[in-house]
Amino acid sequence: MTDRLNRIGVAQLGFIRRTGRWAADAWRALGLPRIWAPQVIPQMRRLGVDSIPIALFLAVFTGIVLALLASYIFTGAVPLYFVGALVAKTIMMELGPVLTGMALAGRVGANIAAELGTMKVTEQVDALETLAVDVHAYLVVPRTIAATVMFPVVTAMAIAVGVVSGWITATNLLDLSTQEFFKGVRQFYQFKDAWFGLVKSASFGCAIAIMGSLTGLRTQGGAEGVGRSTTRAVVLGCEAILVLDAFWALVLL
């Protein structure tokens, strides 16, 4: 029993030491902009711009479902123009950032983990080291900056599309006019609703990129190892989103 506890303790200490060293390396790499800066724009396009279609697809259906759900819940009890308030506030503050984050945890986190994992098992990461290229500055920092900057942009677009989708649904399928829908939106809107969601989404982007990089660079074995890392990156990314979501709710609301 004591041996087992010792082994667990040693493993935990090893994990903490490796993660600490990794974090220190990544922090130091921030001071090497001549390596990471040229990579940022291409990564913003790959991780951000290329993710717009999936984010907007999700937003369209989120808006439709929210409008219909709100109408169903409010029937007879609450004025129907509250549909606009519920759709806008829920999408801006919660569903927009979280659902977009979850979708992008799959797309972006898996993309980063698979790419870096493949580089690791094919010795491309070792090759970078032998060429005296800082691996964190070349691979991790540009992806993390790109995801942190682009997630709020993609989320903002998803929020806009989600609200428009809810409005179209409300005016076409419910007994609600455009004026009534936007009356609800305006009546309960606060500036904080918008920046709260965008701050959250920036932190989601940062966490997903770090999880993807961390698991990718620790890949061992061949294709099977890459598969394991990819799955792990997505799971850790989703977990990080839920934890951060609760954290921001506690801190900012």
Partner: protein, 240 residues
């Protein structure tokens, strides 16, 4: 000079290097021979600090590699070219950019980088392939790009990890000839990991045979050819 003194390295329960000691003299090509899994590539990775020994000392030009600061390790790595078993070219970069990557880290002017890349590709016979991507190259061409990437930095040492594995005999002979020419023209110290006997005899000044994680025999090509040691003879003759 590269020196291993009593180096041991384990991965989990498997001890790959077991009190491994070897001196690799400057200006010569030393071949590390041995069965798969005897620690040849592991030894090579210790030289550039990709792995750290569990016990023992790894020295390059008098510097103890695991004790180097990050900046000193970067300087050391800049003086060592490494040719990986499967070339380890960067998929997303063209041949030109693969060769240029290490040079750009040294903050050279783009004109200097272009001139050095062109000279390196010329040396390996790929002068007109700079715009192609690794996925468009044959195995032999990929290995040659790997060598061009290593020599572009004008290193003092070049480490070759299984440079002819998976190649046909003619392409293997081309790579062997390239390694010999690189040593002759650039005066670099070579360390070649292989289990290809023909390649070993073609490029080596000295041969060290690894067996069960340590050096079992070491000598010139003629000494190894003529040895009566049963382990070495069995390996050279490829007897089961």
């Amino acid at each position: 000079m590269i020196r291993f003194t009593d180096v041991s390295k384990s991965f989990g329960a498997k001890r790959v290097l077991d009190h491994f000691s070897l001196e690799i003299p400057t200006g010569q090509t030393t071949v590390l021979l041995g069965y798969s899994g005897t620690g040849k590539s592991v030894a090579l990775k210790h030289i550039v600090g990709l792995l750290e020994p569990d016990e023992g000392i790894v020295e390059v030009d008098g510097q103890i590699v695991p004790e180097l600061s990050r900046d000193d390790l970067v300087r050391l790595r800049s003086s060592i070219g490494y040719v990986f078993q499967f070339a380890a070219l960067f998929d997303s970069l063209s041949v030109f950019d693969n060769v240029a990557l290490g040079l750009r880290q040294q903050r050279r002017s783009e004109a200097d980088v272009a001139a050095r890349v062109a000279a390196s590709l010329e040396r390996v016979g790929l002068a007109d392939q700079g715009d192609r991507f690794p996925s468009e190259l044959s195995g032999g061409m990929r290995k040659r790009v790997g060598i061009a990437r290593a020599i572009a930095l004008e290193p003092r040492y070049i480490l070759y990890d299984e440079p002819t594995t998976g190649l046909d005999p003619v392409t293997s002979a081309v790579i062997d000839e390239l390694m010999v020419r690189t040593k002759r023209d650039l005066g670099v110290t070579g360390v070649v990991v292989t289990h290809d006997m023909r390649s070993a005899f073609a490029v080596a000044d000295r041969i060290a045979m690894l067996y069960q994680g340590r050096v079992h025999a070491v000598g010139t090509v003629d000494e190894i050819r003529r040895t009566d040691d049963p382990v070495v003879r069995q390996f050279i003759e490829g007897r089961p």
